[in-house]
């Protein structure tokens, strides 16, 4: 078991190192001088020299590479020359709205998926079959819907017609409702599909028959006994969930005119602000790798069967 944990952590580190290396190679593979790449559209006296100094461009390539990795290890994400401040400061100031959005959307998606999957898994009979059919059609529709269109439909219905929620901005919980629902629904569709499959597999297990024979009501059986088993495979989706929420946040923030990491990234892409884009992408990869590594290790503790393999 300690060996398994160590291996998993090493793999995580390896992936992080490779991700950083890919970024480094990408910068150097671009045509043109690195000073010009990093400066974006800007040009003022002293800028090229400042970049050259920060990135050590007069030194050898291996030295630059080592220094690049070292800076990342110290959480030094460099300077945005377009915004003229450290990238870390830019991201820190915009982190909270995105965490709010992605966090609430994630919780909502998980809650929706658990409710729908638990209520419909393995149902039979005429009504049961219809419930499953309706749930699958809804899931498939939401996974096939682009978030920005979903956002517009919600805006039309709840902001322009019913006037329940503000159209844009980030003030208060009311402004969070529509973006969070928008971001949550497509994710919930996929989660719910996976969860129902795994619930149906768990419902086939012999222990279910035993519990049923004790006269335990169906709902209690599902919530207290089967759900735990069914959640295990879902835990492995944790990394994917984080990635999908962070990625979806870019479009959702643009859609609803919310501040946040997504808006910053988008502006950076249009302004060719390479250091910011680089930092956001690496940060997302870091979060993704850390979360999925932790979940995989947690998995070893939760499921004893995996330890011996």
């Amino acid at each position: 078991m300690p060996r398994k944990i160590a291996t998993r952590m090493m793999t995580g580190l390896l992936v992080l190192w490779l991700a950083a290396s890919v970024a480094f190679v990408a910068i150097h593979a671009l045509p043109g001088r690195i000073e010009d790449v990093l400066a974006g559209d800007l040009a003022y006296p002293g800028l090229r020299e400042a970049i050259a100094a920060q990135w050590g461009l007069d030194r050898s390539l291996p030295w630059q590479y080592g220094q690049f990795l070292l800076r990342l290890a110290h959480a030094d994400l460099g300077t945005s020359f377009v915004m003229q401040q450290p990238v870390l400061a830019v991201l820190q100031s915009q982190l909270w709205p995105t965490v709010q959005l992605a966090g609430s959307a994630g919780l909502l998606a998980i809650a929706l998926a658990i409710v729908v999957a638990t209520a419909t898994a393995g149902l039979s009979g005429t009504r049961g079959a219809w419930a499953v059919r309706v749930a699958s059609v809804l899931e498939l529709t939401f996974t096939s819907t682009p978030v920005f269109w979903l956002g517009m439909l919600l805006l039309i219905a709840f902001s322009f017609q019913l006037r329940l929620f503000p159209v844009s901005g980030a003030g208060g919980w009311r402004a969070l409702v529509l973006p969070a629902v928008t971001l949550a629904l497509p994710t919930a569709g996929i989660l719910s599909q996976v969860m129902r499959e795994s619930l149906e597999a768990a419902l086939e297990k012999p222990f279910v028959t035993t519990v049923r024979s004790r006269g335990v009501p169906e709902l209690t059986l599902r919530v207290t006994h089967v759900l735990r088993h069914a959640l295990l495979p879902v835990v492995t989706l944790g990394g994917w969930l984080i990635g999908s929420l962070l990625g979806g946040a870019v479009i959702t923030e643009k859609m609803f005119g919310r501040p946040g990491i997504g808006s910053v990234t988008l502006n950076a892409v249009t302004a060719q602000d390479v250091p910011v884009v680089l930092a956001v992408v690496l940060l997302a990869a870091f979060v993704h790798v850390v979360i999925s590594t932790l979940l995989d290790i947690a998995y070893l503790f939760i499921d004893p069967r995996l330890r011996s393999q």
Partner: protein, 286 residues
């Protein structure tokens, strides 16, 4: 009985025409065929030119003259949606081909090669999927620049691990299948077995995976277009139309509702058919 089920189907059984096709699949296929026809000959189907504006009739609600209404500068939304199929589907298709080509090469060498090949391929997939797909695409667009070709490449790169992983596991299954073991025991050459048995049985999974995943490619491409990184106005691409529609959302719902519906129906149709094929031809999802 159960252990028989675990053997992968042979090529012939996979290629057999399915006995019964559910209504939903037929409906989805009909929609896609209609879309393909509209894509091939948009001028025959559309009542108006998608680019010609008619400011006098701007933002007219759906009605007799304009079934889907008109947009901010009086262009016919129906004509634009039909013409847009070409852009959105072809860019989606192109990006899927990028993922497929690279994923096939890496996935096959991982599934059929030695342990080192498998391990390094898995790390490549790990690294690529460590980046959220949209952010990875944004990263690529930052470097390559904006435009139709570049967003196709960007979305394609983000899709590599998905294709690669499926094709790797498909190759692993086929490699261990009985017909391959038997062919080996007959003393057939490895190259011959690869060409005659392994490659066709792996490739047979490709249309299935492609049908399932082209939907997410179309959504990703229209997302980047919505963000303004792909085709530029006045191109009647669905994502671009949605971005334009967002600006007039307060006064008119139709310029944004119809292109979005086109995306969703297209992606949904591919998903329905893909799921059906997947069940029918025993292709593993992941």
């Amino acid at each position: 009985m159960s252990h028989v089920d675990q053997f992968p189907l042979g090529l012939r059984a996979r290629l057999r025409w399915p006995r019964s096709i559910p209504a939903a699949v037929l409906l989805a296929a009909a929609f896609l065929i209609a879309l393909a026809a509209a894509m091939a000959f948009p001028r025959f189907v559309t009542p108006y030119d998608p680019l010609v504006s008619d400011v006098v009739h701007a933002l007219q609600p759906p009605g007799g003259e304009h079934w889907f209404g008109t947009d901010r500068i009086g262009r016919d939304v129906l004509s634009r949606v039909i013409h847009g199929a070409r852009y959105s589907l072809l860019i989606g298709l192109a990006s899927m081909l990028v993922s497929l080509a690279v994923g096939l090469v890496i996935g096959l060498s991982a599934g059929l090669g030695n342990r080192l090949a498998d391990e390094s391929a898995s790390r490549v997939f790990d690294v690529l999927s460590a980046f959220p797909p949209i952010l990875l695409s944004l990263f690529v667009v930052t470097f390559l620049g904006q435009g139709i070709v570049n967003i196709a490449i960007a979305v394609g790169i983000a899709g590599i691990p998905k294709f690669g992983r499926v094709l790797r596991s498909q190759a692993l299954v086929v490699r261990r299948a009985d017909y391959v073991t038997h062919a080996l025991s007959y003393g057939l050459s490895r190259g011959g077995i690869f060409m005659r048995h392994v490659l066709p049985n792996v490739l047979v999974a490709v249309p299935v995976i492609a049908t399932i995943d082209i939907g997410s490619a179309i959504i990703a491409v229209s997302g980047l277009s919505f963000l303004g990184l792909g085709p530029q106005p006045p191109t009647p691409e669905w994502g671009v139309m949605l971005a334009e529609g967002r600006d007039v959302l307060r006064v008119a719902w139709w310029p944004s509702v119809f292109p979005g519906m086109a995306i969703t129906l297209t992606v949904l149709s591919f998903a329905v058919i893909g799921k059906f094929l997947q069940r029918k031809y025993e292709v593993r999802a992941r």
